[in-house]
Amino acid sequence: MAVTVRIPPPLRKLTGEEDTVTADGSKTLAQLIDALEGMHPGLKERICDETGELRRFVNVYVDGEDVRFMSGLATELQADTEVSIVPAVAGGR
């Protein structure tokens, strides 16, 4: 099962400027992040802090839903899931 991951501009240096990458075999978001780290070393450190939790200023969406409304890093991924990593920009109104 291939998960598509949208990579934001600040992380594209690590993905060879690719704006999307795909990863196989991950059942949860935590596994996916480990898989991404294997493919693009350095990515995990940017997304997660020292304790392994998602960084304060990183939002991760699974099929458009903020994972903090789901199960966080334990959120399960389905086949054809789209994951989007988005910096937490302060919005306007």
Binding site: R6, P9, R46, F57, D66, V89, R93
Partner: protein, 418 residues
């Protein structure tokens, strides 16, 4: 000229050149403009500011872009009104209202957009874009029109009519997204990585956010170069609230006012109050919520500056307060009835917050207090229109008028006695 010297990560302090970028590549922390403080101190004085234009560009030396090429439709330098009637009703002896309804597109958003649009043009962008709950879209569309730039603005599809028309009139590409503001914001963050557009609140954000500082500058200048004792501001992302305080502190660091001891309080709608909730629980970990409130301009369920807002609240011994939809409507009516200002729902949130804080002793009677009214009521008529007295319908003769007036007064007495 501008004294902006670099962008710096608020978290890990890494520095970046002044470019259209917005997050730290390393820790994803937000980037903030840093300035040549000495140069600023030398160039900017009370006198130089007072000689400037009667717009927020009088503070050009404190902003991150060049005023000579500003995209300027005269944002800012709005009235600061002594609100004696409202103050009397609430039990605050010295209450002022910063009336930012009096901006070109009738909200404080013109302050941030004039800076962002100016910077976007400096960078060579041809398209201005934004994610918005309405006010920002109005302002982006207007500034783009004035500068001859293309505009593409994204809004949630359930906005008030006044906010839709208030963008469409400037002829932008207006995109109504099936979702809430947080969905719109996510989409725009993704699009900003794909299209060469200046998203004012995404890739222009470090510059954009600086525009809100001018509210702090203006209030201090209008009070005769002093900071108020207490400010009450609405909070959506929390950015405005934080930047008002930053503006006051900057004036003090430049020697233009005395040291700042202003308490900063913030108000949210109960139906979207993640910052208030974190404050009440004594944490700075803001958990996102799904907004459900008539105060759509404050309906950001995932406030990225919430963490910093809570820091300012703690540092200044301020409060966080929330208001129900009914209290918001009452706040709008109270403001209109006592001060003649028709504010949008966000203004109702602020007035309701003021009322609660004053009643609970959160604002002391003797504190010189400034409340920020950030947008005009004609934009959100839906919120109040069914709660107001309909007009008296009369035939054009005195008898008919007097009968109708008599009935209305009688009804008023009965209502009062009920």
């Amino acid at each position: 000229m501008s004294f902006a010297s670099a962008l710096r990560c608020r978290e890990c302090k890494r520095e970046y050149p002044l470019e259209p970028t917005y997050v730290c590549e390393f820790c994803f922390g937000p980037l903030e403009v840093v300035y040549d403080h000495d140069g600023m101190r030398e160039a900017v004085s009370r006198e130089s500011i007072e000689r400037g234009p009667t717009s927020m560009w009088r503070y050009a030396g404190l902003l991150p872009c060049d005023a000579d090429n500003a995209v300027d439709i005269q944002a800012g330098f709005t009235p600061l009104i002594k609100a004696d009637r409202l103050g009397k009703e609430l039990g605050i002896d010295e209450l002022y209202l910063k009336n930012d309804c009096a901006n070109p597109t009738w909200s404080f958003k013109d302050r941030v957009v004039t800076v962002a649009a100016t910077k976007a043009r400096e960078f060579g962008f041809e398209t201005l874009a934004c994610a918005s709950t309405g006010n920002l879209a109005n302002s982006v569309a207007a500034h783009a029109a004035s500068a001859g730039l293309d505009a593409i603005v994204f809004i949630p599809s359930d906005l008030e009519q006044g906010k839709i028309v208030g963008s469409a009139i400037y002829n932008p590409t207006l995109v109504a997204v099936n979702g809430n503001y947080d969905d719109v914001n996510r989409l725009c963050s993704e699009l900003a990585g794909k299209y060469p557009w200046a998203f004012v609140n995404v890739n222009m954000r470090p510059y954009y956010a600086e525009g809100s500082k001018t509210l702090g500058y203006e209030v201090a200048e209008q009070l005769g170069w002093r900071a108020p004792d207490h400010c009450v501001a609405p909070m959506a992302s929390g950015s405005l609230y934080v930047k008002i305080h930053k503006g006051l502190q900057e004036l003090a660091s430049l020697g233009l006012i005395d040291n700042v001891h202003t308490r900063m309080s913030g108000a949210q709608a109960l139906g979207c109050s993640p910052i208030v909730t974190a404050f009440e629980e004594g944490t700075k970990n803001v958990l996102p919520v799904r907004p459900s409130t008539i105060a759509k301009s404050l309906a950001i369920g995932n406030p990225a500056d919430g963490f910093y807002a809570l820091g300012v609240m703690e540092e200044t011994n301020g409060h966080a307060v929330s208001a129900t939809d009914d209290e918001i409507i009452e706040g709008m009516k109270l403001l209109a009835r006592t001060e003649g200002i028709f504010a949008e729902t966000a203004g109702g949130v602020v007035v309701a917050g003021l009322k609660k804080l004053a009643a609970a002793g959160g604002i002391r009677r003797d504190e010189l207090t400034v409340a920020f009214i950030t947008g005009a009521g004609l934009k959100t008529q839906e919120a109040v229109k069914d709660t107001l007295e309909p007009p008296l319908q009369v035939e054009p003769n005195i008898t008919a008028f007097e009968e109708a007036l008599g009935e209305r007064r009688l009804a008023g007495v009965q209502t009062a006695n009920a």
